[in-house]
């Protein structure tokens, strides 16, 4: 599998070249959020506002009201928890086109609880007018700017940085409100987002080889939650639904699925894999995914429980699964 280094840094420079309305606002995490190449390429469109996120929201709102499109770069925790009222009142209420690029979603950082955005999707979903996107690989990082820019109101993006795998071929960009159907048929429905999709692919590939197939969709749009393919997968889920998210099980993907199923009276089980109403702590991604039950092995066990039979797989079998970029639903079957 291809690993792309700092995909956003390069892409932002390329993408913003002929878009003079695009300005970048930074809050002292410029290189950490891969905005440094933009800063060096277009210094007149880069504004450092320091560690002051409440004011950051207001400046972004003012610029947006005057026709600019501010792209805010900082960690997700500092865009959501810290200046929540400012984001709600200055940006969301007036439905302004402010783009909030939140880095370090969930347990992707060893920086500990202060740096881990584990409730950002819940907080952002609760804001009227907000669109919520999540990147799952390098292709989505490279295409999310187009998706965000086409939205008239504010957009929150869970961004990935550094060494980012390419799960999806570059010719299939992220699309607003359109999940990727990674596997069209199976005994149950599996919904995943963000970095959890890579974990899930290890599971689904390995399970398929043992005769257990699941219907698997990868979501990059978490709000609005109205993709017909997702709704169909939730309303006709087979044995049930499993969601896997790099986030609290309160208010994120699992909650969104629960809302759809409950409102439609879908009487099938829903298993939400995610942080079980707990904060996390500082450690490696692999350690935390395992500790909190967000990894391929945790998912394997959940699927086995729902289908009611064992695959005979062991954790080490999953680590050896070879992943190649997914092209479409039909090819995913052949993984």
């Amino acid at each position: 599998m291809e690993i792309v280094t700092r995909p956003h840094a390069r892409n932002l420079v390329r993408w913003a070249k002929d878009r003079p309305e695009v300005v970048v606002l930074s809050a002292d995490l410029t290189a950490s959020c891969e905005a440094d190449e933009f800063r060096d390429a277009y210094p007149d469109r880069f504004f450092s506002l320091g560690m002051a996120e409440q004011n950051l929201m207001g400046f972004a709102a003012g610029l947006a009201r005057e026709g600019f499109t501010p792209f805010l770069h900082t960690f997700g925790v500092f865009l959501t928890r810290r200046p929540y009222d400012q984001l709600a009142m200055s940006v969301c209420y007036p439905n302004l086109p402010v783009r909030l690029l939140g880095f370090l979603p969930g347990v992707t950082t060893p920086g500990g609880v202060t740096h881990q955005a584990t409730d950002d999707v819940a907080l952002m979903r609760a804001l009227p007018n907000m669109t919520v996107l999540e990147c799952g690989d390098a292709t989505e990082v490279e295409s999310v700017l187009d998706v965000a820019q086409a939205v008239r109101g504010p957009v929150y993006v869970r961004m990935l940085r550094g060494e980012v795998p390419r799960l999806f071929t570059a010719d299939e960009p992220m699309q607003l409100g359109k999940a990727r159907v990674l596997s069209a048929d199976g005994e149950l429905t599996l919904l995943t987002a963000g970095i959890c999709t890579e974990e899930a692919l290890r599971t689904t590939v390995a399970l398929a080889s043992r005769g257990i197939r699941v219907r698997h969709l990868h979501l990059s749009t978490l709000k609005p939650f109205d993709d017909p393919a997702v709704l169909d997968a939730l309303l006709r889920p087979g044995l049930g639904v499993i969601t896997l998210e790099n986030h609290s099980i309160v208010g994120g993907l699992g909650s969104a699925a629960a809302e759809v199923m409950a409102e439609a009276g879908v009487g099938r089980p829903l298993v939400r894999l995610g942080l079980r109403d707990t904060f996390a702590h500082g450690a490696s991604k692999a350690y935390l995914l395992k500790k909190y039950g967000l990894d391929a092995w945790a998912l394997t066990q959940a699927i086995e429980a729902m289908v009611g039979r064992s695959s005979g797989l062991a954790p080490e079998d999953l680590a050896q699964v070879h992943l190649t970029p997914v092209h479409s639903a039909s090819k995913a079957e052949a993984l």
Binding site: V23, Y93, N129, G153
Partner: protein, 299 residues
């Protein structure tokens, strides 16, 4: 022709707020007493605004902004059109909305009938105004958010080459919020010197006298330390209020600290000290006493 002499304008603003407070059985009267000269000076003399482009009688609320509501609007049209050479005005302490609506009426920007909609269901002339309310452009009721937003507007205007200035009216209570200081440091750092802030330093907030709630003094020194060009003036002296604006911008945001008396012009109000935030008549006798003040009023 509307008389825009700030001194007379201020007295008419006070009178209108008093009149409305009596009719309404209550109101934000002390805010009118303290800020009348500041707003009269801004509207009557300092700000370069075009004529209102909004309806003389405000229309009903058109719904919250959103992707499916093309009718949402702001109340900025009462401050005239937006143009590169014209000034812009941002009204931060929207608990003073009754005062602002009175300013708009007394400057010929809104019909007196507009005030009949004050705090009526379905109206934009709200008790604590939001961005759809007359004269208001941002949703400022969660206090201290306006200065940052006006800073963003001023930065955008600089990028576009506008020559007009951006004025903000604030209350002193907003200097207890950290965001105000974040905004000041950013305005100074980015040298947004076409921003001018007028602060009604009346020394009172919801709970009472500010120095018994949380101290913000020495406010001038603090603002200066944050990089502003600070002028401390008598907030009821229109010449003193005007003077700082005669100097061309020189690299620093302008902050005018207008020291005011929350009972200025209505001595009867002093009996309520220190609970001045909102006047609600306790007895019929009290209402009659205010009616007597209004009956004897001279602009």
């Amino acid at each position: 022709m509307t008389d825009l002499d700030p001194q007379r304008l201020a007295q008419r603003i006070r009178r209108r707020v008093l009149d409305h407070t009596i009719r309404n059985g209550g109101g934000y009267l002390s805010q009118a007493c303290s800020s009348a000269e500041i707003l009269a000076t801004l509207y009557g003399r300092v700000m370069r605004l075009g004529d209102s482009v909004a309806p003389m009688v405000p229309g009903p609320f058109q719904g919250v902004p959103g992707p499916h509501n093309p009718h949402a609007h702001t109340g900025s049209g009462y401050n005239g059109p937006k143009a590169p050479e014209l000034d812009r005005f941002f009204f931060s302490p929207v608990h003073y909305s009754l005062v602002l609506y009175s300013v708009l009426i007394e400057t010929g920007r809104m019909a007196p009938e507009g005030l009949a909609q004050f705090n009526q269901d379905g109206s934009t002339v709200e008790l604590i105004g939001a961005e759809h309310s007359p004269g208001i452009e941002v949703t400022a009721g969660s206090l201290a958010q306006t200065l940052s937003q006006a800073g963003g507007v001023a930065l955008a205007r600089r990028l576009k080459g506008d020559t007009g200035r951006t004025w903000i009216f604030m209350s002193d209570g907003e200097f207890q919020e950290g965001q105000t200081w974040e905004a000041l440091q950013a305005l100074a750092y980015w040298k947004l010197d076409r921003v001018g802030v007028y602060v009604d330093v009346n020394g009172y907030q919801c709970d009472g006298k500010m120095d018994g709630i949380m101290n913000i003094e020495p406010l001038a020194d603090r603002c200066r330390a944050f990089g502003a060009d600070v002028h401390e003036v008598d907030g009821h002296d229109v010449e003193a209020l005007t003077a700082p604006t005669r100097k061309p911008p020189d690299g620093k945001p302008l902050v005018v600290l207008a020291r005011t008396d929350p009972c200025h012009g209505i001595e009867l109000l002093r009996d309520r000290t220190p609970k001045l935030h909102y006047l609600r008549f306790k007895t019929d006798a009290e209402r009659k006493a205010y009616e007597a003040v209004l009956a004897a009023w001279q602009d």
